[in-house]
């Protein structure tokens, strides 16, 4: 059971890492519009249009 002394601290570090990833996703605006992007990707035009996405 000694392995637990390695695995449990690792899980703590992992949880903190995932938290940081979500934090950046929120700041990047990935949760602003939850409906539009789904539709945009499926029904995209064949014709090239400029600047489909905001920079």
């Amino acid at each position: 059971m000694d392995i637990l002394f390695l695995l449990i601290p690792m899980s703590v570090v992992l949880a903190i890492g995932i938290g940081a990833a979500f934090w950046m996703a929120v700041d990047g605006g990935q949760f602003e519009d939850l409906d539009g992007p789904a539709l945009r990707v499926v029904t995209d035009d064949d014709r090239p249009t400029q600047n489909e996405d905001p920079p």
């Binding site: 703590v12 700041d27 949760f31 602003e32 539009g36 789904a38 539709l39 905001p54």
Partner: protein, 800 residues
């Protein structure tokens, strides 16, 4: 009277409303929009959408698009990039599903000069970047309008940034708490299932310390709002629901941390993290609902450049239409009856003017003003048309007064929310006393359990139905109403609308389309029909009453026949001089008072509204004006009646006409030829019988009676005065929306009562159990948070 629209057999391809048999569309507007969508090769929209589109021409635009190109507007709303690209934020009205955003993006990307257009369906906002010679907004707005939506520029800086920061911060807190909860539960779970001695002391300590490390950010960061809220409440000397929550979290964390460090006693990190996560989940739902409801309100406060009629020359009557913002001191502006004064100024010319300053004083009784007197912008002309000399512009425009009205509505707290707030204060006080009593009692019985029982008691009680769910229900309901085109202009309108027993319609414009037209002319004097019409139109042109407008529209303007010295008698008619003849146009009694002749018999159809014209010597002509009934009004009245409401019809129109309309809709209680004073009397009599009256009106005649009613609703197309007086504004002019609004108000009341009943039952059961020590902190956290989620979710049902 034209027959009502035939029974629908098909539905409009664009908006899904009933369409006449054999036609794809319900109206020419929908057809035009659909054609332009298909012309752009975007017919996919009809396949993608999940909701039907808005009916064409429903929202009134107010101003011509050119008004958005004035430097005053563009300098405020259009940003210029270094490379000469323009950028503007827009609020978009009419988006019903995500496919609308898709459609609009593609429409704009195909219009010349546009480089980028991103539309956000959930916030109803858009960001557009385009290249052009001058920073004019109208080409962009016209492209949006061409496919049936309306858009306004708005300042993204203030509202959007605050909202975005608020929602991102809460989302981050929610994520941290969620991750912490899942992981901490992993460390806590073995202790729940392990038998005596199965977990060695060192592993147990490792689990506790890991839980402590991951609970720390949850308590310090995610639970921050509860501590801040509790501190704020305590400093203000109030007790809100944050106080027991913060106290419970703090005590539980301190005790668990102490147990971890000391190596003895129980730890409850799992309970703490789950409690924080579920509570934040409830707040998140509430915030989303609040922001959605807020979008509808931003739309009302949108910039709407209003136009004024400026007199072009120092003498003469020629006017030009200019935006309010272009007026400068010294200009002379024609203010018609029922219009709002664009700015501060003084009364010009001769004769008295009647203005209402209800926006300032709350008093609707019009005030008499003499020539040279100062008039305040935002006041409403309640009498004849007059000329205003502009003195000050800007700060006191009607625009800012209407925005002030909006802010008043947002600031004012409804009585329900107020009462809930007070009750939750008492409730929390009682909970704190009970927790202290439990701690003292258990100290004597079993000191090792005393802290946890007190914490459980603090955590398990749920004042959320009072403190969280009632305001949430009211906010969500006002958002839902705004989607139904009913904008709540005053706090408390929803609760009063829910209690209404009688609904009184003012016929003009509420049950009919409000666009009367001239049907018949009966010449009574010796003049020809064309001459009679020219005289009537000259008088009618002064007034903004719908009947007069119809008369004016029926004839080509004739400069040879112009009215002077005019005076408006609201509810009766207009009086003016044309070529040394004193003429009156209006109701029979009013015109007869000028010459004293008895009212003659006419051949005009009794179902038409009659407008009489006469001079000092006798009758000149009578005009019959007909109105078209609103096709959807019948079903709406049926719905209102099915909801237990007594429907009344009060009208200033003739008795025969009113009776005809009433019979068509099956309304038993009606009154024709009602004067403003008579309408007030009618409503007051109803109220004395114990009825609570909702008044639906539109015109200038309604303003006083709207004030007398318990709750007043103005149709959006009505005069400005009525809007300022009303508790709610119906933007769509559709009676169907009104019936739906009453239903929403009643559902709101029902949801609030359900929540209160739940809270009462829940707390009555769990508080004694917690006091007796039968509720562990984990169970307490789950129970309280589920109860809180339940009442918020119940309030969110009002979104539909």
């Amino acid at each position: 009277m034209p027959s009502p629209v035939q029974l629908a057999e098909s539905r409009c391809k664009h908006c899904d409303l009933p369409a006449p048999a054999g036609s794809l569309f319900c109206c020419a507007g929908c057809e035009a929009i659909s054609r332009s969508i298909e012309g752009l090769g975007l017919a996919d929209y009809y396949r993608l959408r999940t909701e039907p589109a808005a009916t064409a021409g429903a929202p009134a635009q107010g101003a011509a698009l050119e008004a958005f190109d004035t430097p005053e507007v563009t300098s405020r709303f259009v940003r210029v990039d270094a490379d000469g690209t323009f950028e503007a934020d827009l609020l978009v009205e009419g988006m019903r599903c995500a496919a609308c955003a898709w459609l609009l993006e593609h429409v704009l990307q195909r219009s010349p000069g546009v480089e980028q257009a991103s539309f956000n369906y959930s916030s109803r906002r858009a960001l557009v970047r385009w290249k052009a010679q001058v920073p004019a907004l109208s080409p962009v707005l016209a492209a949006i309008r061409s496919v049936g939506y309306a858009a306004w520029p708005y300042e993204a800086g203030r509202i959007a940034l605050v909202e975005q920061r608020e929602s991102r911060r809460l989302l981050r807190r929610l994520w941290v708490a969620g991750l912490g909860m899942m992981q901490v539960m992993m460390y806590a779970f073995p202790a729940y299932i392990a038998g005596e001695g199965e977990i060695t002391a060192d592993i147990g300590a490792l689990m506790s310390w890991s839980g402590l490390v991951l609970t720390l950010p949850v308590v310090a960061y995610s639970a921050g709002p509860f501590f801040v809220g509790a501190w704020r409440e305590l400093r203000l000397g109030r007790l809100g629901m944050d106080v027991p929550v913060a106290l419970g979290i703090a005590v539980a964390f301190a005790a668990s941390a102490w147990a971890t460090v000391a190596g003895t006693g129980a730890v409850y990190f799992d309970s703490i993290t789950m409690f924080v996560f579920l509570l934040l989940g409830g707040r998140w739902l509430e915030l989303m609902a609040r922001q959605k409801a807020g979008i509808a309100l931003h739309h009302l406060a949108r910039l709407q450049p209003r136009m004024a009629d400026r007199l072009r020359f120092a003498d003469g009557d020629a006017t030009e239409s200019v935006p309010f913002t272009q007026l400068v001191p010294g200009d002379r502006v024609l203010v018609r009856s029922g219009e709002t004064l664009p700015c501060d100024g003084e009364l010009q010319g001769e004769g008295m003017a009647l203005v209402s300053q209800a926006w300032l004083s709350g008093e609707s009784r019009p005030l008499e003003r003499r020539p040279g007197d100062a008039l305040l912008g935002g006041s409403v002309n309640a009498g004849r048309a007059f000329v205003l000399r502009v003195r000050r512009v800007g700060a006191h425009t009607a625009l800012s007064s209407i925005q002030a009205m909006m802010e008043r509505a947002l600031d004012g707290r409804p009585r329900w929310a107020e009462a809930a707030q007070r009750a939750s204060g008492w409730f929390v006080g009682a909970v704190l006393v009970a927790a202290a009593a439990a701690a003292v009692y258990w100290m004597q019985v079993d000191p090792s359990r005393a802290v946890w029982i007190a914490v459980s008691l603090l955590v398990v009680t749920c004042p959320c139905a009072l403190a969280l769910a009632t305001p949430a229900a009211l906010t969500v309901a006002s958002g839902t109403l705004a989607r139904l085109n009913v904008v709540v202009a005053r706090a408390g309108a929803i609760e009063r609308l829910a209690g209404v027993t009688d609904i009184v319609f003012d016929k003009t414009g509420t049950l009919t389309q409000g666009r009367p037209r001239l049907v018949e002319t009966h010449v009574l004097g010796g003049e020809g029909e064309a001459r009679c019409l020219a005289l009537a139109a000259a008088l009618a042109r002064i007034s903004s009453h719908p009947l007069d407008r119809a008369l004016a529209a029926a004839v080509e303007p004739d400069d040879a026949v112009t009215a002077t010295w005019h005076r408006n008698h609201p509810g009766d008619g207009v009086e003016a001089w044309v070529r040394q003849r004193r003429l009156r146009l209006g109701r029979a009694a009013f015109v007869a008072a000028l010459h004293g002749e008895p009212v003659p018999a006419t051949t005009i159809d009794p179902s038409l509204t009659r407008v009489w014209l006469g001079d000092e010597h006798g009758w000149i002509a009578a005009f019959g004006l007909g109105d078209t009934l609103r096709p959807e009004a019948g079903a709406a009245i049926e719905r209102l009646r099915a909801g237990g409401l007594v429907v009344h019809l009060l009208s200033g129109d003739g008795v025969a006409m009113t009776g005809e309309v009433a019979r068509h809709f099956g309304i038993d209680r009606f009154e024709g030829e009602a004067t403003p004073a008579g309408k007030i009397e009618y409503v007051r009599a109803l109220q004395e019988e114990g009825a609570r009256v909702a008044m639906v009106g539109d015109g200038i005649n309604d303003a006083p009676v709207l004030g007398q009613a318990d709750v007043s609703i103005a149709m959006g197309g009505g005069a400005d005065l009525a809007q300022l007086r009303a508790d709610a504004v119906l933007l769509s002019d559709s009676t169907a929306d009104l019936a739906a609004a009453v239903a929403v108000a009643r559902r709101t009341r029902r949801v609030i009562r359900q929540n209160l009943a739940w809270a009462l039952g829940y707390n009555a059961i769990v508080i004694p159990l917690a006091f007796a020590g039968w509720v562990t902190p984990l169970v307490a956290g789950i129970a309280m948070a589920s109860s809180s989620l339940l009442v918020v979710a119940n309030a969110l049902r009002l979104r539909r």
